[in-house]
Structures are given as structure tokens and as C-alpha cells.
Symmetry: C2
Subunit: 255 residues, 2 copies
């Protein structure tokens, strides 16, 4: 049997790096999701197996915590494994290592559900391929960062931005791409702020899908020094009532 | 000596694909620019050689013409070579091939200048490493698409969108990322339009750099059936006069 931990190498592409030559958090998130996808495809429960069966993984939560972001041209690996699996959710962890000096530079945690793509209803993921996923649960590996937290915001949160969504925001499922939310959230801070701060931890909970043409409204609150919560509300194009789409927490450190 | 033509393999990553599972033109453009960067780094006149010497390549024009866009999970190669080099400009071509059936699916052409990153002035690129670039000019390879055209627009062009620029738009040079312009331009059409049309040819001329905080205004004109020209004007954050930033031409075909 193939190993429980998958390991994939990526390059911090120069045009995926910010003004200081560090990989954008959104692109790192994309690499993590790719690693998850490669890992599950290689083990027979990935998108290529699920799609013809009208099934799909849905990312429910993602948290990334970094000691250091890869710099332009750095090669890094993403290791990923399934930490646990229940009927309607599975926990998947990530470890990010700089290849040049084999140094662990960060970790990630994620929670996934499975849905039927026609009914949009949750599916018992332990029944897929007779519970093949359970054969890959790995409990020995360590992922020493806090689990996704409960993002609680007060009525004090201020609406700081409203944006429209467009063609390039939409993924293969016809929804706003999970990574695009991360980029839109990080765009709420100024370049000057990023000159003085690095992102230590980014977490996002996906609550409801949005579609092209929906507007997204961003409410932000500083809940502790250098800790911000952001709620994304969708304002549907059809004029129906506003609804929570995502909740995020971003923890910065001063440089 | 290393070969004149560089060949690099890429994957059409699932989260880089549009609602129909075809690679976004912006991500393809990024792969082309990466291939150009890898090719020039491998031959001693790339960003890693230039940066410590306060020199940089600047993309001046890019045109991509596709018979077919890679689909999600397709592997494709980008071959690239220098077609010609003059003192202040070099022409670089691209050929895109689907790996599975070794079929050429598109081509690209580009024009690059070199600047001194401190003075922002053009540099004689034939003097870099005693004209090393000239040793790599390749005239035998074929790139059978039209050169970048002169994008001419009438006074009829309508302003169709104005957007703000943010942290995730900015590249390592502190300017708006070349690829982000492509995405912003393609966002001018609706999902319904893309359901009925594919992009046959995309071309962009970069006229003036923009900075984070500048607003971008998009003027569009349909210059022939399914052929559109787009002019991007920058509205600088410091209130100075609006200035042309890019000109694009997009040719669609009906599906």
C-alpha cells in the first residue's frame, strides 16, 4: 500500500511573491489544496475518482500557521495526511518544509466534507470505496498548531469593503474559488501595513458558497492586538437576503 | 553549450481552471513568463543574475493564441526561445504542447526590454555579459502567429469598469503584476459570455507601470465581430493626471 503521508514539492514562483519577495498566503493555500488533491487522487479517493460519481470534496476550514514564508525561487515541500475521519468530516494536516535546509517552516490544518454534486447534500464519506479513506488515517504524525478556532465577532465589526465577483473568481464547480476569498481578505490591509507586519496565522471557515455576480461585503474587527476577525457576507445577485459566506481570523506579527 | 530552446512542463492545476475546467488565460500567461524566466536563468541572463546588478527584464508585449486551452489535470509543455535581440528589445517566442498526445495547442510571442532598477532607464541588453544573449538567438524555430498588433481605438470606446488595486496585485518590483492586468481585463465579460465564447487570441502591450493604490479604469470597444480592444488608464493615488497603462486586444470565437 502507498504511504499514508504524501509529499509534494513546489517552487515559490517569482510572480506569486509579494513586494518583499515572499510567497503570497493565497498561493501557499493553493499549494496546500493541490497537495490534498494529489494525495487523495494518488490513493483513490480524489477528485478524478469522485467527479464521474457526482461526488466532490468541499473544503470547510483551513488554517495555515507559518514561522517563515518561502522566498522567491525557494523550493518547499508540502506533506499531507489524514488525521481522522468521521462520517461527514475528515481532518487533514499539512507540514511545509524548506527544501534547501530541510527546515519545517509551517503547518496547516483543514476540515473537509463530501457532497453529492447534484443534490448538494452531504455524503457519508466512510462509505466511499468501502471506507478506503480509513486505511490512510495517520495518527503518529505531529501537527503542533492550534485547531481552527471559533471566530466570534461583536456587533462592533465595521464594514470595510464591498466588492463584485467576476469570471476569474469562479472555479470548476461554478462557485467563488476558495483561494480568492483569502486574497480578497488580505487585500483589506494596506501595503504600509504589510511593510510592518507578517502574517503569522490565517484561518478561514467556509460557511456558504457564493456565485459569480454576488457581491461580497467584508466586516472587520480587531479582536486583540494584531489579531483581526473578518466576516464575509454575500449579497446575492438575485436580490435575496444577505448571508454569511466565510469567517476568517488573521494574526499578524510585527517585523 | 545548453540548447537554445528551453522546455518546461506544467500542470493545468484544477484550482487554476475556469467554470468549464479550462485553464484560465491569466495562469497560462504566468506559466509563459515562468518559462521565460527559467530559460534565461538557465542561460545566465535571468532574474537571479540581473537582480544583484540592479538590472531587470521588463515585459513590454505579450500575445497568446490558442487552438485549445489545457483542461484540468492536463500536462503541457512550454517551449521558449529568443527569436531576435536588438539593443533595447528582444523577441521571445513560445510553443505550448499537450503532453498526452504531443499536440501543439498554441503559441505565444513576447517583447522584453531591460532596465536599470534604480534609474528605471532602459539598458543596452547586448552589453550584458558581453552579449551572451546573442549566442542563444534561434532563427530556425517556427512561431506561426501574427506579431503583436497596433491596438487602435476610436473615441467611441466606453469606460466599462473602474477598480482599485491592492496588496495581492503587487509584484516583487512594487508594481501591479503583469498577469493581474490580464485577469482584470478578462473580468470585463460575463459568465454567460464565456459560456458561449472561447478566447482565441489575447494580446497586451504594457505602456506604463502602475502602483498599489492607483485606480485602473477600463475602456472597451468592439472593433470587429468578437474582437475587442481594451485600454487601461491609471488614475494615480496621488491625484496626478490619468495616463495610459496598457492596451489589449481580445479575439473570441463562438463555441
Amino acid at each position: 500500500m502507498i504511504s499514508k503521508v504524501g509529499k509534494y514539492e513546489f517552487l515559490a514562483e517569482p510572480f506569486h511573491c509579494d513586494m518583499e519577495g515572499r510567497l503570497f498566503m493565497g498561493h501557499l493555500g493553493n499549494h496546500l489544496i493541490n497537495a490534498a488533491d494529489f494525495h487523495s487522487n494518488d490513493r483513490g479517493f480524489g477528485m478524478t475518482y469522485l467527479m464521474p460519481r457526482k461526488l466532490a470534496w468541499v473544503l470547510s476550514r483551513l488554517v495555515i500557521e507559518m514561522d517563515e514564508m518561502p522566498q522567491a525561487y525557494d523550493r518547499f515541500t508540502v506533506e499531507t495526511w489524514v488525521e481522522s475521519a468521521m462520517r461527514f468530516f475528515t481532518n487533514r494536516n499539512f507540514r511545509i518544509t524548506n527544501v534547501a535546509d530541510n527546515r519545517v517552516i509551517g503547518y496547516g490544518k483543514s476540515v473537509w466534507a463530501m457532497i453529492n454534486t447534484e443534490t448538494r447534500q452531504p455524503v457519508d464519506l466512510l462509505k466511499v470505496r468501502d471506507g478506503e479513506l480509513l486505511n490512510y488515517v495517520e495518527t503518529e504524525e505531529n501537527c503542533p498548531i492550534a485547531r481552527p478556532s471559533r471566530v466570534t465577532m461583536s456587533a462592533e465589526a465595521q464594514e470595510v469593503e464591498t466588492i463584485s465577483t467576476h469570471y476569474c473568481d469562479v472555479d470548476m464547480n461554478g462557485h467563488i474559488n476558495s483561494i480568492k476569498y483569502i486574497e480578497h481578505v488580505l487585500d483589506l490591509w494596506s501595503l504600509d501595513f504589510y511593510r510592518a507586519h507578517s502574517i503569522k496565522r490565517f484561518e478561514i471557515a467556509y460557511v456558504a458558497e457564493t456565485h459569480c455576480g454576488d457581491k461580497l461585503s467584508f466586516l472587520r474587527e480587531e479582536t486583540a492586538p494584531n489579531e483581526y476577525c473578518v466576516r464575509i457576507m454575500k449579497l446575492p445577485a438575485d436580490g435575496s437576503v444577505a448571508q454569511e459566506s466565510c469567517r476568517c481570523k488573521v494574526i499578524f506579527v510585527e517585523k
